[in-house]
């Protein structure tokens, strides 16, 4: 068996020697260089564009604008964004092309002999803009004084609405002994993958317009390019070289379409040279979507025994200028805003609103981190109001086998949340005594842990000879917080879900070599390593004889995206089927024996528009986290001492890779909760640089992240696998907020918990 062990990563040697090629490292003879012109206009109509001065810059080959795009629209779930904003579009898209709705709208792609020439030409494109009224935020946009998307059938900037109508709310409130209300504000988050967007494009030897780029779904990139260029998909080829992180931020198009457009148009003119474009960090941050900012008002009722009786919530998500995947992200927010709990009576409304802000889209957790922050903060407040231990309160209400979910249908079999909660609590030092969960040796039923003496605090371990400012013990407070979460694995709400795999067996008498062909994008998570392990196990051969051919639409089938914690689950199922087919061919004496499979999981359903009734997902992952932190009440600085993360992964294909996802997910969530503050004002990102947008460095990380990996099989997962890569992110922010409350007595309903904000609120409290 090659699963359940941690062989080295297949991509590690290239990554430690510098041999691995990321998109910006690729080159070809006769290379041309491209630059993209962004509109820099949050809301304006283009009146006139003049490219003559730019074209006259020495070395400029061509400039392509809206007039050159065959079908000037794109979007992963709705076509609502022009590929290029400009005048003289051919009118084949219903989306008005002449309006810039976002500062990151693309206007032109300039191709030149050198980067410098392309950059100089970009400065010389003259555009006259007519300013339009700005809709910088939800409150302004919902007034509908001007429609950002008059082509949308909703005829409102509040263009998408989901409902949950379950049970009898009056009865739910009547049964409640306590009611907890809250209003929460969630910020944008920038993906900040270390590798800025870049692409190399050319027409290959078979005449296909080819883009080598970092993405998350080769075949979706191919489909989006084909749609805009009005080409059959097989005329378009997408290849992924090494990818420098993604986290959802590469699900939508950045350079895919414009690079294919420039290459194809030049090819039609007889210009066969390849083109490369590399974005700067600032272009990356301006030019791609973010985690959605959002707000939620909510009210929860519970009996004095701690049973939830009713949940009411109203959610607003800032979609920004274009939908991207907002409608799907909002579905997840909608499903998670009530938490992973049995709720007899629920009334939830979620709205997506178009604004002139940066689009919201996919980012690790996909709406669940926002929903979880709301739900778990409510649970922790309920625990306080009821005088109950937060672990006990969760165990009293959480989903278990055969629970009916918020959408009024049973959860998929294999609900392991109670075990996950208990494992996390036990590891963190709670125990059951007298039938109650409590901290070992502590009488209080409450969450509070007594502050450990400073001399024993792990923070003192961090004092190195280099440290100039040790913490002041007199102003440190300590606290502990708990939160749990669930999230879907795979696509939801009826979106077509599938994954292809091909396995080829070579040899004569015995199998000497196995080739797995697959499109799974290796974004750093280690999927190529895990898929190779699963292929070896499914065929029944040593790992060493399995070779990989990956992520090239010309030779690998459609895998779907690396997103929604789905790839190990989906690809594992496809690999099992392909291996079985290949082994049958081998028995039938075909050489090579080739097995191809297209796996489809059980169908899911969209939410009923009036009640939300549906079977929205086919599998879930479950996670719980406990945070111990120190906060300096004078400076507001938070330091995490310990994070315990219990995650049911079903079956750990590669335990070291899973630990890496837990540790990486926790630190990214620490950034979301504490350090990262994207300043978006009047439709503009004001801090698009790493010097001003602060992702966690090594000195910011918890002293210890302890992974508790549970292996409770998902009955439909391959070898029992569940998806897991998003889960560790999801409950961290509310666990931090709870620990901060435990330490200070103050509830924080808004993140990020930057030092200035924490200190100010503690002073005012």
């Amino acid at each position: 068996m090659s699963i359940g062990i941690s062989p080295y990563r297949v991509d590690a040697s290239g990554k430690v020697t510098g041999a691995a090629l990321f998109p910006g490292d690729l080159t070809r003879p006769q290379l041309l260089h491209a630059k993209v012109l962004f509109s820099n206009q949050p809301h304006a109509r283009m009146v006139r564009m003049d490219t003559r001065a730019a074209e006259a810059v020495p070395g400029v080959i061509a400039i392509f604008t809206a007039a050159d795009v065959p079908v000037n629209e794109y979007g992963l779930t709705m076509f609502d964004q022009p590929v290029l904003v400009g005048v003289n579009a051919n009118g084949r898209s219903p989306v008005p092309s002449d309006v810039s709705r976002w500062e990151g709208d693309q206007v032109a792609i300039i191709v030149a002999e050198t980067e410098a020439a392309a950059a100089a030409a970009r400065e010389r494109i003259n555009i006259e803009w007519e300013q339009l009224p700005l809709l910088p935020d939800i409150d302004t946009a919902v007034r509908d004084e001007i429609l950002l998307h008059p082509e949308h059938p909703a005829q409102s900037n509040r263009y998408h609405h989901y409902k949950i109508r379950k049970g009898d709310m009056a009865a739910g409130w009547a049964a409640a002994d306590v009611i907890v209300e809250g209003e929460y504000h969630l910020p944008n988050q920038e993906h900040a993958y270390l590798q800025p967007e870049a692409a190399l494009s050319y027409v290959d030897e078979q005449g296909r317009v080819t883009v080598e780029i970092a993405g998350q779904w080769t075949h979706e990139d191919q489909a989006q390019i084909a749609h805009a260029l009005d080409l059959p998909p097989e005329q378009v080829r997408v290849i992924y070289p090494a990818i420098g992180g993604a986290f959802g931020g590469r699900e939508d198009m950045s350079l895919q379409i414009v690079m294919a457009l420039a290459t194809w148009k030049l090819h039609q003119r007889g210009e066969m040279r390849p083109i490369r474009c590399i974005w700067s960090r600032e272009e990356s941050i301006i030019g791609h979507h973010k985690r959605h900012r959002a707000r939620a008002k909510t009210r929860w009722g519970a009996t004095k025994e701690g049973k939830i009786t009713a949940v009411e919530a109203e959610v607003y998500m800032d979609a920004g200028a274009y939908n991207y995947t907002t409608n799907k992200v909002m579905g997840n927010f909608h499903l998670t805003v009530g938490g992973p709990y049995e709720i007899p009576n629920a009334h939830i409304d979620s709205y997506a609103v178009y604004t002139n802000s940066v689009p919201g889209g996919a980012f690790r957790g996909f709406g669940a981190p926002q929903g979880c922050f709301v739900a778990e903060s409510q649970m922790n407040k309920l625990a306080e109001a009821l005088g109950m231990n937060p672990v006990a309160l969760r165990l009293k209400n959480c989903y278990r086998e055969n629970s009916i979910g918020i959408t009024q249908t049973p959860l998929p079999a294999g609900v392991s949340l109670p075990q996950v909660i208990e494992a996390c609590a036990a590891k963190a030092g709670w125990q059951v005594a007298g039938g109650k969960w409590q901290v070992a040796g502590e009488e209080s039923p409450n969450l509070a842990v007594s502050s450990p003496p400073i001399s024993q605090s792990p923070i003192s371990n961090l004092q190195s000879p280099f440290q100039s400012l040790p913490p002041n013990p007199a102003t440190l407070r300590f606290g502990r917080g708990f939160a749990c979460a669930y999230k879907n694995i795979g696509y939801s709400f009826g979106f077509p879900e599938r994954c292809e795999a091909t396995i080829e067996l070579y040899g004569a008498g015995s199998v000497e070599r196995v080739v797995l062909k697959h499109s799974a994008a290796e974004v750093g998570q280690g999927t190529h390593t895990a898929l190779r392990q699963m292929a070896a196990t499914a065929v029944g051969v040593p790992l060493e004889i399995v070779e990989l051919v990956m992520s090239d639409t010309a030779v690998t089938g459609d895998s779907g995206s690396v997103s929604a914690s789905r790839m190990t689950w989906m690809a594992g199922n496809a690999i099992q089927l392909a291996a079985a087919a290949a082994k049958q061919e081998w028995t039938d004496e075909d050489r090579p024996a080739i097995g191809h499979a297209r796996f489809t999981p059980p169908a899911t359903e969209p939410l009923n528009p009036e009640t939300g009734h549906s079977t929205p997902n086919f599998a879930y992952g479950y996670v719980a986290e406990c945070v111990d932190l120190a906060v300096d009440i004078e400076t507001g600085h938070i330091h995490l001492l310990r994070v315990v993360c219990a995650d049911d992964v079903g079956k750990a294909i590669n335990p070291r890779l899973i630990e890496g996802q837990v540790e990486g997910g926790v630190v990214q969530a620490l950034g979301y909760a504490v350090t990262e503050e994207l300043v978006v004002r009047d439709g503009r990102v004001l801090n698009p640089r790493f010097s001003t947008y602060l992702i966690p460095g090594v000195r910011d990380i918890p002293d210890a992240v302890e992974s508790v990996i549970l292996e409770i099989p998902d009955p439909r997962g391959p070898w029992g696998v569940r998806g897991m890569a998003e889960m560790p992110f999801i409950p961290l922010a509310p666990a931090i907020a709870a620990a901060l409350h435990d330490a200070t007595g103050v509830w924080f309903n808004e993140i990020p918990l930057t030092p200035g904000k924490v200190a100010a609120k503690l002073r005012d409290a």
Binding site: S6, Y8, R9, D11, A12, S13, G14, K15, V16, T17, G18, A19, A20, F22, G24, D25, T27, H191, A192, Y193, L194, Q195, P196, A242, I243, G244, G245, F247, S280, R281, N461, L462, Q463, S464, P465, F466, Q467, G524, Q525, G526, R656, L657, E659, G660, V662, E663, G664, G665, V666, V667, Q668, R689, F690, S691, I695, G697, V698, R699, I701, V705
Partner: protein
């Protein structure tokens, strides 16, 4: 602006190059020499991905001009291993300890650690964290990177 001719030693090989005076050292290494293991992540000295050794000391190649390297010795990640089958112990440790995910930050981290471990052959975990405090990684949460550095330090052959 007139071009300059510089003599520069990169990974042990000394050559003359004629370059434009405003060419960044990072761009020179990547695009003129084809040493694309030096990655550019932020262009303003924050992320550390472009770290190379300049006369043995780590520098941000995105913050230097190539002409500043005239007469000096540069080492990039491509200079670490004697061959693909003969990795430097530091590279070997990052491979074995899963000290990377996407790998974009890895070359800068290796070249930050190399002189640090030479000067501090038996560092504590806190000292390793301090040494890496100028390098950003978005994937790993850093712990496996720190583990890999400590594994490298624990190996007697390191520094030979």
């Amino acid at each position: 602006m007139s071009d300059h001719t510089i003599s520069i030693t990169v990974n042990g090989k000394t050559e003359e190059h004629t370059i434009e005076p405003r060419l960044l050292l990072s761009d020179f290494l990547r695009h003129q020499l084809g040493l694309t293991g030096t990655h550019v992540g932020c262009e303003h000295g924050v992320c550390g991905a472009c770290t190379v050794l300049f006369d043995g000391q780590p520098v941000r190649s995105c913050l230097m001009f190539a002409v500043q390297a005239n007469g000096h010795e540069i080492m990039t990640v491509e200079g670490l291993a004697k061959s693909m089958g003969n990795l430097h112990p530091l590279q070997q440790a990052f491979w074995e300890a899963h000290g990377l995910q996407c790998g974009f930050c890895t070359p800068g981290i290796l070249l930050t650690l190399l002189p640090f471990l030479a000067e501090n052959p038996r560092p504590t975990e806190a000292e390793v964290r301090e040494a890496l405090s100028g390098n950003l990684c978005r994937c790993t949460g850093y712990q496996h990177i720190v583990d890999a550095a400590l594994l490298a330090a624990s190996r007697m052959e390191f520094g030979n």
